[in-house]
């Protein structure tokens, strides 16, 4: 749990596992700048709660943040099979009421899939030292991924 906590605190880890969704850069003082492209915008997040080896929680600074709040919790898995990592994120979709209605119609699928993908990538990175990728591979189209 301590190792996973340590890895998650590393800004480079966050940058790599969130890459499909947002560009995450450290800005000092434990803050990070999240950029999710022209439609979803950018915002800053601040570490608001920190219990080493156990729990971390971040809050968005100011308005217009897609992710209002996020937390990660570590606990031992049953049967001594490693560690369970729980990622929670509260989303505030852009576009005011219309955006919110659209997000409701989508249900939780999109945010849940993003969270799940980030956790898969975190697991791969910690267990193998790399994240599976199809970047830069051969394909007969402009974006080979």
């Amino acid at each position: 749990m301590d190792e996973l906590y340590r890895r998650w605190r590393d800004p480079e880890t966050l940058r790599r596992i969130m890459a499909p969704f947002a560009d995450v850069q450290p800005t000092g003082d434990g803050q990070t700048r999240w950029s999710a492209g022209p439609d979803l915008g950018s915002w800053d997040m601040r570490l608001a709660d920190d219990r080493p080896g156990e729990f971390m929680r971040w809050e968005a600074q100011g308005g217009g943040a897609l992710i209002r709040e996020a937390s990660v919790r570590f606990r031992p898995a049953a049967g001594n099979r490693g560690t369970v990592v729980v990622l929670r994120a509260s989303l505030d979709p852009p576009g005011g009421m219309l955006g919110r209605i659209a997000a409701q119609m989508l249900g939780n699928t999109v945010p849940a899939a993003l969270a799940s993908k980030s956790l898969h990538y975190f697991k791969a990175l910690v267990q193998t030292g790399e994240i599976p990728t199809t970047d830069r591979q051969p394909a007969a189209r402009p974006d080979p991924r």
């Binding site: 099979r81 490693g82 699928t109 899939a113 993003l114 799940s116 993908k117 898969h120 697991k123 791969a124 267990q127 193998t128 030292g129 790399e130 994240i131 599976p132 990728t133 199809t134 970047d135 830069r136 591979q137 051969p138 394909a139 007969a140 189209r141 080979p144 991924r145």
Partner: protein, 389 residues
């Protein structure tokens, strides 16, 4: 480099694409020396498995020579001649440590495409839809192999390419299918399908101690292969009224101890059930023609084992009642090749396993579309087309 590209349903072309490069630290680049068609490729070529993208390099059964290695590769070096199982596996996760390699947790770059359908993502595979990872395939001059230390198996000197190539997929798939059957001396094993995987399953059943193996197909040349190269008895299902009745007669009314399905979602068959499946599949109302699997379920003796190697999507009219009431054990998986490779290479070196007879037709990579057409239509007795870049 040159590579075989999927451009749409039934549209394969050889095109020039950029060479693969080392992207992750455990990668290697392989110069492909030989690759082969697999029946499961036909499912996405024909459009029954979604999530292909125009421009994908296809092919997942291959071998080659290591050309370059990433900084973290320890056991594989430039110049090594290796065979590579079709599923990409990390060797570090719980599934790999339990030898369930095709279920590896860490090699799927796009788990969000597969989780809604299967609940959890499988391992990634070369050249086989984006739902299975979207990795570039191996019908090409070069291919990137992630986790080279875990997935590249050195080929002992003296074994020619044709004998080793099928250890990439057909042989381990068939071997695993027979292993699932927990064969006891004296057992009778029936195998639906006498293509590459089915013939390898039949051969493996004998290697594991089966007394009689019965191969079922409709193509005389494949049934002949089963008899001559493997030693199986055979049934041509187009020439009998009921495969079930023939199997009952052959086994004194008891039924085969284990039934292996090596056919999958594009089964051919006869009668009303086949017409029903075919019509629904043509209208894309379901993905699977399941005649072989249904027949295997029905024919299996009470308390026997059903081993499913054929690739399926979602099937309706599935006779779960026959499985339940007869108390069948169902075992199935995509191939855990890394678990079997040492044994397979050992069998090959002792001369007990020589799958090279599957390579009925050879083509240069440039003629790969023609090779797939022959393979699909089984022209000229084609069992497997082999490509040499």
């Amino acid at each position: 480099m040159r590579a075989l590209i999927w451009n749409g349903v039934n549209d394969l072309r050889v095109e020039t694409v950029k060479d693969p490069e080392i992207v992750n630290p455990h990668d290697c680049i392989l110069r492909v020396t030989m690759s082969t068609t697999c029946g499961s490729d036909l499912h996405f070529i024909d459009g029954y498995i979604p999530t292909m993208k125009a421009g994908d390099v296809i092919g997942h059964e291959f071998m080659g020579v290591v050309e370059d290695v990433g900084p973290e590769v320890k056991n594989v070096k430039k110049g090594d001649r290796v065979v590579v199982p079709s599923f990409i596996t990390c060797g570090q996760c719980w599934y790999c440590k339990n030898k369930l390699y095709s279920l590896c947790d860490n090699t799927h770059p796009k788990p969000e495409l597969q989780e809604p359908v299967f609940g959890y993502p499988t391992a990634g595979i070369y050249g086989y839809t984006h739902a299975f990872g979207g990795y570039a395939g191996a019908h090409a001059q070069y291919v990137r192999v992630p986790f080279a230390d875990n997935d590249c198996f050195k080929v002992p000197d003296g074994l020619p390419d044709e004998q080793v190539l099928f250890l990439s997929d057909a042989a381990p798939t068939g071997y695993m299918g027979a292993d699932f059957c927990k064969i006891q001396r004296g057992d009778v094993v029936a195998v639906w399908g006498c293509g590459g995987v089915g013939l390898m399953a039949q051969k493996s059943a004998f290697l594991m101690g089966a007394e009689r193996v019965i191969g079922i197909d409709r193509l005389p040349e494949r049934l002949q292969m089963a008899r001559e190269h493997v030693g199986s008895e055979t049934i041509n299902y187009e020439e009998v009224d009921s495969v079930l009745e023939v199997l009952k007669e052959m086994t004194g009314g008891r039924g085969p101890d284990a039934c292996i399905d090596a056919v999958g979602m594009e089964a051919h068959g006869t009668g009303l059930q086949y017409a029903y499946d075919r019509a629904k599949q043509l209208m894309y109302m379901h993905t699977d023609r399941g005649q072989a699997l249904r027949e295997a379920i029905l024919a299996c003796r009470k308390g026997g084992t059903l081993s499913i190697l054929g690739v399926y999507g979602v099937m309706d009219k599935f006779p779960i009642g026959a499985i339940m009431n007869k108390g069948l054990t169902v075992r199935t998986a995509q191939q855990h090749g890394q678990a079997y490779m040492d044994r397979l290479l050992d069998h090959a070196q002792k001369g007990e396993l020589n799958p090279s007879f599957l390579a009925t037709h050879r083509f240069s990579l440039e003629d790969a579309p023609q090779g797939y057409a022959m393979f699909k239509h089984k022209d000229d007795g084609c069992v497997r087309s082999v490509f040499i870049p």
